[in-house]
Structure formats: structure tokens, C-alpha cells
Amino acid sequence: MKKILFTLSTIAVLASCSKKELELAPFNQIETSLAFNTQADVNLAVLGMYQGLRGNYVGGTSNILGDVLADNLIINSLGRQTLTTFGDWRYNGDATVGLFGTGYTIARRANAILENIDKFPAGVFKENVRGEALALRALIYFDMVRTFSKTFENAGANDSTMTFITSTDAKQLPGKETVRGFYQKLERDLTAALPLINTNNGVGRLNKAAVNALLSRLYLYMGEFPKCISASTAALGTTPVLPSRADFPSIWTDATNNGVIFKVLNTTLDNNNAQGVNYYQTVGGLVRSEYVCDFDLRQLYGISDVRTTTYLQTSLWNGVLQNHIVKYAGRPGAVAGVVDAKLLRTAEVLLNRAEAYQRSGDNTLALADLNLLRANRYSPSSSLTLTGAALLAEILNERRLEMAFEGDRFWDLKRRNQPVQRSATTGDRADGTGVRYIRTTLAVGDHRFQLPFPSSEINFNQNFKQNPGY
């Protein structure tokens, strides 16, 4: 009897455990249903959107891909041979950019905010949040559509692109929509965001000027020159303020925000050096590049141009002089390659406007904008007097020099229906000798101007078809 009592009581003590023990929650996450209860929650989600932008623009290849695909960069035969699939135009659905998935991940964060913001009372907070979400979504969708599809001007009525997703429904299997329709939705969202968004949301966040800058770029791609001009003017203000020649290098070391309309922040704690590593690493005190400046492009940078020393450096690697790109060298005294991602600058908007003026017939105002830029880049600078096709060519030349090594060139050539024509006779050394390009020409209308969609989506989603040619 004693035995039974003893054993049963011991077991009763040890066996007591209730079902509540099974209700365990994670320590660093909250359930989705609880994520939008207060304004503080919404702020967290808004910053979450920007965190996604950081992953893509700071952490990815967006600052180099457009140059590798075009004629600004040639591979360093002594480098680590990165991005060769893109430099040689050998990509397809199984070897393509991750922008499709990453872009939609960022857009989803904006969509979640837009779906939940309505339950908040009307006011400045609600409107600004909606404006930021619409603008950020348009920013990423614009990047996606110019990567994967034809531009508005080049697209026919039948050319299609991915779907402009506005819902967070996990079960949707979207097909495709027309390129032109997609661009029009971008325009609709950006113009809707414009009155809603604040003039100032702090550094590292979108604001009215940024939305106007995006509209300026969008209208240029759409060929809508009057709208481009008015958006650019709204972004630049009555007197466009450009950083002076002395101040220009500070943009790239994050010492100033003068001339920067929007950038994605990358703090010392974030410590993401991908923008720098995309271009080079320092080995034994020397720069070892993955890609070096194309010889012909290098000749276009003159001594009086402040960009020459800001963007480029000619130095030895393995006993050979090469033209390295040091635009993303880093902040003074800090880790190499860790810089903010400058996405929208006044210089670009000014060039957009200059081109829009010229192509809508106003050579005078186009020339004025061009000379304004030149005054802040060249010393000694002289005003040019050009007109017509020569003026346009000079504007486009300045555009190439200004926007080089920001991942813009390939999309710019695509927009203007130009081929990629690389030199067949120059190589990767500073003197023009060295290993040459394997492939030199991408003709206008080649299907490879539109990057392929990932096979993983094509194979799974029957409604979604691959771009033609792949």
C-alpha cells in the first residue's frame, strides 16, 4: 500500500503539465493581424519598406549592372570574373537577375500598408504614409519594368510586361499586362502621391521633390516632354541648386546631401559594402577591379572635369596600369564600399529637362540647362553654343559622363533605341591594350535588351509567359 501511494504521488507531481505549455510564440516576430494597430506600427512598416530598398539598391548589383550590360565597363581579365553572364549577354531564365522576386517583395510591403492605412483617421499622417507607399511602389515597379520589358516609346500595343500588383493576396496567379498600361499606372500612382506626400520626410525617405524627380524620369521614358519639363521644374525649384564643383566629390562620400534628392541609407551598423565590392577590392594596398572603365569612355573624361578624379583612378594592378572606378570608395576613415545609395540627383533631373527641352524644340532653354551643369563640372568652364542635333548629342554625352557607373547606361540606350556598340580594338589596360570584349554588339531590337523572367515563376505560373526570344 505504501508502495502504491508513494509511486502514484511521485508520478502525479511529475506528470502535471497542461495544454497551455504548447502555446508558444516567437520572440522576434508579431502576428500579421497585430501589425497595423497603431501609428507606431505603421511607422515600423514604412521603415520596413525602405529596408527592402536597401537590400536591393545597397546590397545588390543595381549600381553596376546597367554599365556592365552596356559599353561603359570592360571586364578586368585579372579580376574575379563576376557578372560574366551579363557582360556577355548570355543570360536566360535560369541565370537572371533577382529583381523580379526582390521587387515584388518590396512592393508587397507597400501594398500591405495601403491595404491597412484606411482604418486610420484622415490627416497629415495618413496622407503622407499613403503618398510614400504609392511613390515607393512606383519607384521599384519602374525599375522592374525598364529591366524586363520594352520602354513605353518602343513598346507596341501587344508588348506585355508583368502585372502591376496592388494586393497582398497570397493565392493570386497574375498573368501579364501591356507595357503601355503599366507605365500609365505608374504615372497615375505618382501623380496621386504628389499632393499627399510631405515636402520633407527626413534624409533617406521619399518626399515631394523625389516624386517629381521620378515623374521627370518617367515622362522622359514615355516621351512626354512637356510633362517632363514641368515635373523637372517642380523637382528642381525655380532656381536649380547644384552642388558646386568643389562640393561634388562630397556627394559620393556622403559628406553632403546637396544635389541628392533621394538616397537609400546605409549606416555604419548596416555595414553593407556591396556597392564598393561590385567594382573592386583593395589587395595589398592596390585596387583590384572586377570591371574597369572602357577605354573610349575614359578618353571622354577631360582634365578639367571634376568627375574624372571623383569617379576614376588610374593605378597599377599586377604590374599593369588600369582605369579603376572609385566612385564608391567609401566614407573617409570608414569601411571601404559602405556608402548610401544615391538614387535621384538634381543633375539627372536637369539633364532630363535639357533633353526634353531640346526634343520638344526649345533649344535655348535646353542649352541653358546644359551650360548650368557644365559650369558646375568643368573648370575652367565655357558656355557652349550649340543647337539642333549637335546640342542633343552634347546633352546625351554629358548624361553618359554624369550618370556613368550608376547602373543607368543600358536602360538609357534602350530608351533611345540605340544599340550597344563596344570597341572591338581596345582592351582592359589603361593604354587600350589588353584583353578585349568577347562580344561587342547588341543590335537595336535584340531580345536581350529585355532581361528574362526567372524560370521558377514561368514554370510554376501558367498565366505568366517568358519574354520572346528566350
Binding site: Q51, T267, T282
Partner: protein, 1006 residues
């Protein structure tokens, strides 16, 4: 009248009985006294006397007599006309009486009735491996063990009856003394402390382990004292470790490589500068590599080769060694048994600077407090510290550097610093200055209380815990090359604490009714919980490499902690009934609730039913002399598998992200409130048999294992911002045969020789998927009707003899010279899963010498030989061409009509190394896994040295491997830095090389 009748009856009876006589001796010829002789079926008989003689009276109807003796196999003798019989007995397999723990109860090995394999301590003790999972290879049919890599302490991937899951774990549940151990603790468990390892393969034995038992269960029991005088043992081992040589490939020498680079038109900057420096002196003033003549070029090659080391592996690798000391004391008295051991195992790995040292102690004790109350405790602690080399697909890793450093490069620059080589980084310098030291401490403690309430009913309570803490210190030292490249120096200290405890209460009722009906009922309840905590701290700006603590750093960089937990509540029961140990059935059931699922689906039930027939005692066995043992069994049951994610069913926003150093929230997971267990339904049919007095024994099992409601990342459109939701969709099937045959070929006094062969054949098929033909990893697909992860790639069609270009098959079978990913096809029949595997073991004992050998073979799987592709530059493309090349690269096309294996070296379009089935190779191999020679000192000699026993031995592991694969076909992880592979064995990318060890050792018993 009555007297007459009685006398007559008596005389009748007497006239019909007869007396048989004889002698009973044992295998060595010595007489056995006290052996019993009975008529079959009778209860009593007679016994042999001191000289082994017996006299036995039998009635005429008796046909068979049974002779039995303790420690000997029962013998049955057909009684014929003769009246004198000499009977020689054979020793019984003592191991059949061994007690093993299966399903929360202890059984004698001979009473196990399911598809189970028992591995005894003898088979795994004294093997020079720090992780016991690696020693299990080839020890049981159906148990497939793939070693992860050759790092000291590395574990192995274990599969029992095939691969049953895609996203959830495929590893079996491993219980050590009643608790499921974290895999990080396997290398902290001393293999010499293990008494038995029982592998539970079918549902009848594993279903009672319930929700985590879908992949089988391995039950490990540690040693305890045996009755008799205390045994004190000391053993010492010293091993010599080398890297297993790559098979079927060799690298070009320095001269060959330079000549090949020249033929490929590669501009080697070092050669160029050497020519420039000699212009005007040895060479003409405008000389270039192309304008020199052959002799001058050869002269340059010689100059380069002389500056280089003869073999870079002398620097990247080091001679490995193992050294192990162990002391153990064990014994038992009436009231108590105990086992104490102390062990130290130090190992230097084969890679530069790699080592792992482990020290541990264990005390297992059991005390019979009263005649109804027993208590016991098993406690062990182990500590290990190691230096971990980088293991990546770049030159920071020493092993990768062997494949990336050209044979003509010198080790040191003229100024004495390390040569950064053409790769730009010296992994020698990196291993010295970018260090990673890890250590781990594991504590196991199991304590129990057992109360025998009456002679049938026992209650037992077990509380077990396992606490593993590990720590890493990763130091990017100031002054190192990597610090200069990155622009900062940094130290990261991180660590984790993994604490798991289990409380199990069981009640066991065992009763025999009417001496033939045996009933065994078990009822129990269990609670398991795991708490995981980890931290990571880093700081930058160290003044000098000689200080390592973070308080010396100028700037703190990151501080982070995280925590997670899971728990399981279980109720279990089983009922077993057998009739006269001849026919038996068993039913078991278990109900588990887990915290990993949403409230709707928390609990699930698992059950199994099995039946067995032990034909040994049947009447018809008399007629079949040659058949000494026969058991037929069948079982069917269910088991479960849980997802790896602790909180997988919730839809969540993660808060552990920031933008501009301000907190942010990002969507992380889509909710699936229906998420539930992965279910396995297994059935098994098996036969155990023995022939010729158990001279030949064997087991054959046929099994079929079906996985339903597979935990699978169901793809969704990437347009949703996610690419998958964890769901239960799809099913998988594994079926196959396991065969094991053991023969005691020679069984004499001084010479014993036995051979054991195992063979397992497993067929794996994906039976349903949510969407067919999905990519699973690079170059593999999941296709309904085919094995898991079947390869999917472009087919190579050789080199065109006319122009030396690569040719590929288009999807429709025509040949083309253009590579397109649209021509990828499913390569039916080629998957990384092995189709068959097994072992051949043999033991030979001659007087005091013992010899054992173990072969392991496997095949039917294919592997993508990336390590071969990466050092074979097609057409000399610069990214691959500046790596060392295999000699096969010299077989390139030179002129029209050549049949070559490599394309022409100069055409620009051929300078790309595409992924095709050219590098897909069969992974079949046979390896001499273990070889051991031992000599035990004769007992007289040992006694004169005042020892109870002394044994010397020499042992070798992985001494020989036979394969057609180009490289080493036994691979598990891709490499450590890229994490656990989708499928172990898909490809190998410079993981720690597997090793070969020769060990000498001595075992002393006092």
C-alpha cells in the same frame, strides 16, 4: 491375482522403456556437467555427471531428446536404434541475452520482434572518430550513413529506409539514455561509453516514439557495470591521419601547366614581366611570349618551376594525428552497479592548423535501495575545443586553395611575406590571421526511479536533460590581409545554449497466465521541452592581434540575442500478447501535441500493429533438421515528422530589422493555420532464420514506407512578394529489401572465422506533388513518378572532330553547337539517391590473434562533379584557366579529325565551361572502411605481469577506395559555409577532405 497383474504391468512397462547413455562435451572437447537431458515436451529428465556422462530412460514414443546447458545452444537429437550418443554442444551467442532498451522497455535481444538491428559496443569501440554517427556506416541493413566531411568531430547524415521528406528533416530520432539529443552534441558523446545502439526500422518498434519517428529511431544506451569483480581498464591509441587521395585524376605539373597556358593563349602577367626583365639580355629586345622559340620558353618554364614548391599541399595540409587516453572502472554488486569513465581525445586534422580536442567524463550508477525500489543516474560531461578553417568556394579556405593555387607560384615573396598568388589572397596568411576558435560543453543527465509495486506491476519515472553550450570566437585580426582589403578589423563572439529536458512516466504490467499466455501492457506519459538562446557580439578597431577580448576594441559594432522554444506533450501505450513464445501480436499507440502547429491541428495520433510467429518450437521443425531457427513477422503502423521551423504556421512580421538605425517591421511569413504533421505509413514483412544449428543466420525484410501530407514549401507566385508557403502537400514512397546473412564458416577451438554480408536496396519515388516538375536545387527537379531530385540539365554530345567545338543535344535529340538552357531535359534514372548499399564484414580469431575487416559499398547514385569541372577550363577561359588544371585538360582538340575530350583552345566561343551532364558521374564505390589486427597476451603471461588482460592492435580506417569517380565520391555537405545541402551527395565544393587513418593502440585490464 492382483499381485500377478501388477507384476505383469511392471514387466510390460519395463520391457518397453529403454535406456540411452552418452557423453556431453563442449566445443573445446571438455565434458559438461549438469547438462540436462529431457524428452521433448517433458518437464524433467536427467542430468550429466561430473564427467559429462548421462543415463536417460525413454519411453518408445519419444523420438527427440533435448540437451541443454547454461551458456550453450540447445541441441536436439533424434533418437534412433542406437543407445549411445556423444553430443558436442556449441556455445550460445551470449549476446542474445543482452538487454536492450526499445520503446520505453527493456527486452532481451532474443525477444525482440520487429525489424531492429542491434549494434554492440565491440563494433564501435576504439574507432578513432570523435562523432559516433560516422562509425555506424555499414553496421546494419537499411541504415545508410553518409559522412558529412573529414573535419575532426564531423557527423554523418543518417537515413533509415530511404529519404522520406523534402523540407522536413530526414534524420532519424536519436535517443540517448531517454532523451533526444541535439546533433551538435553527437561529437561530445564518447563512443566508448556506448553499450548498445539499437536501430528501429519498422513501425512495430518505432511507432511508440510517435511524432518524430517517421525516419526511424536509433536508441543509444550507455554502459553500466556487470556482475563480477570490478574491472579497471586503461586504453591508449595513437593514430596517423592523411587526406584520402583523389581517385582517377592528377594535376598538371608546373611546366605542363605553363605550356598549356601558352597553347590556350592566356597572358600570364608573371611570365610577361619575366620576359620584359630579360629583354636585351637573354632575349631580343622586342621579345614576347609568342616570338620566343620553344627552347627559350622551356627555359622560362623551368625558371618558374624552380621557384615554386614541389607540392603546395605540403603547406595547405598538415600531417594529422589522433591521440586518445581512456580510463574506465566498472562493476556490480547485489545492490549496486556502476560505470565510470574518463576520456581524452585529441585530433589534429589534415588541413593547416585544424584541430579538435575533447575531454569528458561519465558516471553511470544504479542502486537497489530496497527490494522494490531502484534508482539510478547517468551523468556525463564533455568539453571540446577546436580550430576551424574556412571552408568556402574561394581562396580563403585552405582546401579550396589547393585547387586554386598554380603549381608554379612560389609560397613566399622575395621579402619573406606570403605570396598572395594570382587569386589575390593567401589562405596560409588567412588561416593564421583570420582565426575561428570554437568550443562546446555538453552535459547529459538521466535519472530514474523504478518502483516494483508487485511482481507484475512496475512504475518508472525518468527525468533526462541535455544542455549544450557552444561558443565561437572569430577574429579578423588587425594587420591581416583581409582586414586591409575590407578596411577594418573585427572580432565576433557568438554562442548558444540549447537546453532540453524530458520527463517520462510509465507503468508496465507483465503477467503470464496459465504458463503459456504472456501479457505485457505499457502505459505512459511524457513531456519534452527545448529552450534555445543565442547571442552575438562584435566590435571593431582592435589595437593589436595579441588582445582578443571585446573590451579592447574602439567601436562596438553589433549586439544581438535571440531565443526560441518548442514543447511536446505525449501519451503512449502498448499491449503485447504472445502464446507460449510462439505466436505474438502487439499494438501500440501514441498521441502527441506539439507547439509547432496552430491551435487547430496541435494533436495527432500514431499507432502500429504487428504480429510474429516463432517457428522454432513447432513440431514440423523436427523434420527440417537443417533449419534451426525461423521467425516470421509483419507490421504496419504510422509515424510523424515535424517541420524544422518552430513557428511555421503563423503569419508574421519580423521586428529584428532596422532602417537608418531605427526599428522596422517586415512581412516574413504567410500564415497557414492548417499546417500539420507529415505522416508516414510503413509496413514491413520479415523473416529471421538460422540454418545448420545456426551456423548460418540471416534476416530478410521487405518494407514499404509511404510519406503523405509531406511538409513542403508550396510555391506561390513571386508576384505576391513571397515565393512559397509551408504546407502539407505531396507524397513520397520508399520501398525496398534488406538482407543480412552471417556465416560461421569455421568454428573450432583455436580458429574461428565468420563472415557477414548485408545488402539493402531502396527505391524512392515521388508519388504526388502540388505541381509537377519543379526545380529543387540547382540542376535537379522533383518529378512525379521519379526519384527525388532527379537531375535536369543539358546533355553533352562530345567534341566535334571537324572543328573542336563542344556539341550538345537539343531537347529533341538533334545535335547543336549552341548551348541553351532551353535544352535541359530530365535525366531519367539519375538522381543523387543511392539505390543500393551494404557491407561485407569478416572476423577471424586464431588463438590470441584477432583480425577483422569491414567493406562498405554503395551505388546507383549520381553526383555532379563540380570539383572536376572547376579545374578543367574549356578552351582556356581566364576565370578557370588560371587555376591548376587536371592532366585531362591536355586532351584538347588540335586539328580536324581529332577525337578529343576537350574543345579547341583558341576559339573565343569555346571559352566557357557550361553545366552539362559531362560532369555528372556515377557515385558508386567500395571502400575498405575498417581493418583491425589485434593480439591479446596469453592469460598466463598477463597474470605474471599482474594484469587481467593486455591487448595490442593496429587499425586502419578508409584505407582503400575503389571507384570510377574522378575525385572522392563519398561526400555529404557541399562545404560547411554553404549550409546543409538539399540533398547530401548532390555535389561537393571543397568541403573538408575525407581522411584515412592508421591507428595503433593498447588496451590494459587490471
Amino acid at each position: 491375482m492382483l499381485f500377478l497383474m501388477l507384476t505383469f504391468a511392471f514387466m510390460q512397462a519395463n520391457a518397453q522403456n529403454r535406456t540411452i547413455t552418452g557423453k556431453v562435451i563442449d566445443a573445446d572437447g571438455k565434458p559438461i556437467s549438469g547438462a540436462s537431458i529431457t524428452a521433448r515436451g517433458a518437464k524433467s529428465g536427467s542430468l550429466t555427471d561430473g564427467s559429462g556422462n548421462f543415463k536417460f530412460s525413454v519411453t518408445p514414443d519419444v523420438k527427440v531428446i533435448v540437451i541443454s546447458s547454461l551458456g550453450q545452444l540447445n541441441q536436439e537429437l533424434r533418437v534412433g536404434a542406437a543407445s549411445e550418443y556423444n553430443i558436442r554442444m556449441a556455445p550460445a551467442d551470449q549476446s542474445l541475452d543482452e538487454v536492450v532498451v526499445v520503446g520505453y522497455q527493456a527486452f532481451k535481444r532474443k525477444d525482440l520482434n520487429g525489424a531492429t538491428s542491434v549494434i554492440s559496443s565491440k563494433e564501435i569501440a576504439q574507432r578513432p572518430m570523435q562523432n559516433f554517427t560516422q562509425i555506424l556506416q555499414g553496421k546494419a541493413p537499411g541504415l545508410q550513413v553518409i559522412s558529412a566531411n573529414g573535419q575532426p568531430g564531423a557527423g554523418a547524415f543518417i537515413r533509415i529506409r530511404g529519404t522520406g521528406s523534402i523540407n522536413a528533416t530526414n534524420e532519424p530520432l536519436i535517443m540517448v539514455d531517454g532523451i533526444a539529443v541535439a546533433s551538435t552534441a553527437f561529437s561530445l558523446l564518447n563512443p566508448n561509453d556506448i553499450e548498445t545502439i539499437t536501430v528501429l526500422k519498422d513501425a512495430s518498434s518505432s511507432a511508440i516514439y510517435g511524432s518524430r519517428a517517421a525516419n526511424g529511431v536509433i536508441v543509444v544506451t550507455t554502459k553500466n557495470g556487470k556482475p563480477g569483480a570490478p574491472q579497471v581498464r586503461y586504453s591508449f591509441q595513437r593514430g596517423f591521419v592523411t587526406q584520402q587521395e583523389l581517385q582517377n585524376v592528377s594535376f598538371m605539373s608546373a611546366r605542363e601547366k605553363l605550356q598549356w597556358e601558352f597553347a590556350a593563349g592566356l597572358t600570364n602577367p608573371i611570365i610577361d614581366s619575366m620576359i620584359v626583365n630579360r629583354r636585351g639580355s637573354i632575349f631580343p629586345s622586342n621579345a614576347t611570349l609568342a616570338t620566343l622559340n620553344d627552347a627559350q620558353r622551356q627555359g622560362l618554364w623551368d625558371l618558374m618551376a624552380d621557384r615554386a614548391p614541389s607540392d603546395w599541399r605540403d603547406y595547405y595540409l598538415q600531417p594529422g594525428r589522433t591521440s586518445s587516453h581512456e580510463v574506465s572502472i566498472s562493476g556490480a554488486t547485489e545492490k549496486m552497479k556502476y560505470y565510470f569513465s574518463l576520456n581524452k581525445f585529441d585530433e589534429d586534422g589534415v588541413l593547416f592548423r585544424s584541430y579538435r580536442n575533447r575531454i569528458g567524463a561519465r558516471l553511470n550508477a544504479e542502486y537497489k535501495a530496497t527490494n522494490w525500489l531502484t534508482t539510478g543516474v547517468n551523468v556525463s560531461t564533455a568539453y571540446a575545443n577546436e580550430f576551424q578553417t574556412r571552408e568556402r568556394f574561394n581562396t580563403q579556405a585552405p582546401w579550396t586553395s589547393v585547387f586554386f593555387t598554380n603549381p608554379y607560384e612560389p609560397v613566399f615573396m622575395p621579402n619573406g611575406s606570403y605570396n598572395f598568388t594570382m587569386t589575390g589572397f593567401s589562405s596560409l596568411e588567412g588561416t593564421l590571421r583570420n582565426t575561428q576558435f570554437n568550443n562546446g560543453l555538453s552535459t547529459f543527465a538521466t535519472s530514474f526511479l523504478e518502483a516494483k509495486v508487485n511482481k507484475n506491476l512496475t512504475f518508472k519515472s525518468v527525468a533526462a536533460l541535455n544542455h549544450v553550450t557552444s561558443m565561437s570566437e572569430i577574429y579578423l585580426q588587425p594587420g591581416s590581409n583581409l582586414a586591409a582589403i575590407l578596411g577594418y578589423n573585427e572580432k565576433t563572439d557568438n554562442g548558444s545554449s540549447n537546453f532540453q529536458y524530458v520527463i517520462t512516466n510509465t507503468g508496465n504490467y507483465i503477467k503470464t497466465f496459465k504458463s503459456k499466455h504472456n501479457l505485457n501492457v505499457l502505459v505512459g506519459q511524457e513531456f519534452t521541452k527545448l529552450n534555445f538562446y543565442s547571442y552575438s557580439l562584435s566590435a571593431r578597431g582592435f589595437p593589436t592581434a595579441s588582445v582578443t577580448t571585446l573590451d579592447n576594441a574602439a567601436a562596438a559594432q553589433a549586439a544581438s540575442t535571440s531565443r526560441s522554444q518548442w514543447s511536446i506533450i505525449s501519451y503512449l501505450s502498448s499491449v503485447g500478447y504472445d502464446y507460449d513464445k510462439r505466436y505474438g501480436v502487439k499494438l501500440s499507440a501514441r498521441r502527441d501535441g506539439s507547439s509547432r502547429f496552430g491551435a487547430n491541428n496541435r494533436f495527432a495520433n500514431f499507432w502500429a500493429a504487428s504480429a510474429w510467429w516463432n517457428a522454432k518450437n513447432e513440431k514440423f521443425m523436427d523434420k527440417l533438421d537443417f533449419l534451426s531457427d525461423l521467425k516470421v513477422r509483419a507490421s504496419y503502423g504510422t509515424a510523424g515528422n515535424v517541420p524544422g521551423q518552430f513557428y511555421g504556421s503563423l503569419g508574421t512580421y519580423a521586428l529584428n530589422v532596422a532602417y537608418n538605425n531605427t526599428p522596422a517591421a517586415v512581412p516574413t511569413q504567410i500564415a497557414n493555420p492548417d499546417l500539420t504533421w507529415e505522416k508516414n505509413a510503413n509496413w514491413d514483412l520479415g523473416i529471421d532464420f538460422g540454418l545448420f544449428n545456426n551456423r548460418i543466420t540471416g534476416t530478410v525484410d521487405y518494407y514499404n514506407r509511404q510519406t503523405n501530407d509531406m511538409l513542403y514549401s508550396q510555391p506561390i507566385s513571386q508576384a505576391t512578394g513571397f515565393s512559397s508557403i509551408l504546407s502539407n502537400v505531396g507524397s513520397l514512397n520508399n520501398k525496398g529489401i534488406e538482407v543480412s546473412l552471417t556465416g560461421e564458416i569455421i568454428r573450432k577451438k583455436d580458429l574461428k572465422w565468420s563472415v557477414n554480408v548485408t545488402y539493402t536496396n531502396n527505391e524512392n519515388i515521388v508519388t504526388s506533388l502540388i505541381s509537377d516538375n519543379v526545380p529543387s536545387a540547382s540542376n535537379t527537379r522533383l518529378v512525379i513518378g521519379k526519384p527525388l531530385n532527379t537531375f535536369f540539365m543539358v546533355r553533352h554530345a562530345g567534341i566535334n572532330p571537324a572543328n573542336g567545338r563542344n556539341q550538345y543535344y537539343k531537347a529533341d535529340g538533334t545535335i547543336t553547337e549552341t548551348y541553351s538552357l532551353n535544352d535541359q531535359v530530365l535525366l531519367t534514372g539519375k538522381s543523387p539517391l543511392a539505390r543500393f548499399f551494404g557491407g561485407l564484414n569478416s572476423n577471424l580469431n586464431y588463438k590470441n590473434f584477432d583480425f577483422s575487416v569491414q567493406f562498405y559499398y554503395t551505388g546507383g547514385n549520381y553526383m555532379y562533379n563540380a570539383m572536376y569541372q572547376n579545374n578543367l577550363a574549356d578552351g582556356g577561359n581566364t576565370s578557370v584557366g588560371f587555376r591548376p588544371q587536371y592532366r585531362d585538360a591536355n586532351n584538347y582538340w588540335r586539328k580536324p579529325g581529332d577525337i578529343a575530350t576537350m574543345p579547341n583552345l583558341t576559339e573565343a566561343s569555346q571559352k566557357q565551361n557550361f553545366t552539362t551532364d559531362r560532369f555528372l558521374e556515377r557515385g558508386d564505390y567500395v571502400t575498405l572502411r575498417d581493418l583491425m589486427f589485434g593480439y591479446t597476451l596469453p592469460s598466463q603471461l598477463a597474470k605474471s605481469l599482474k594484469l587481467a588482460g593486455l591487448r595490442f592492435y593496429v587499425q586502419g580506417t578508409n584505407l582503400f577506395i575503389g571507384t570510377k569517380f574522378r575525385g572522392i565520391p563519398e561526400v555529404g555537405t557541399v562545404n560547411r559555409d554553404s549550409g546543409t545541402p538539399v540533398q547530401p551527395g548532390v555535389l561537393n565544393l571543397y568541403g573538408y577532405p575525407p581522411t584515412r587513418t592508421i591507428t595503433v593502440g593498447v588496451d590494459v585490464k587490471f
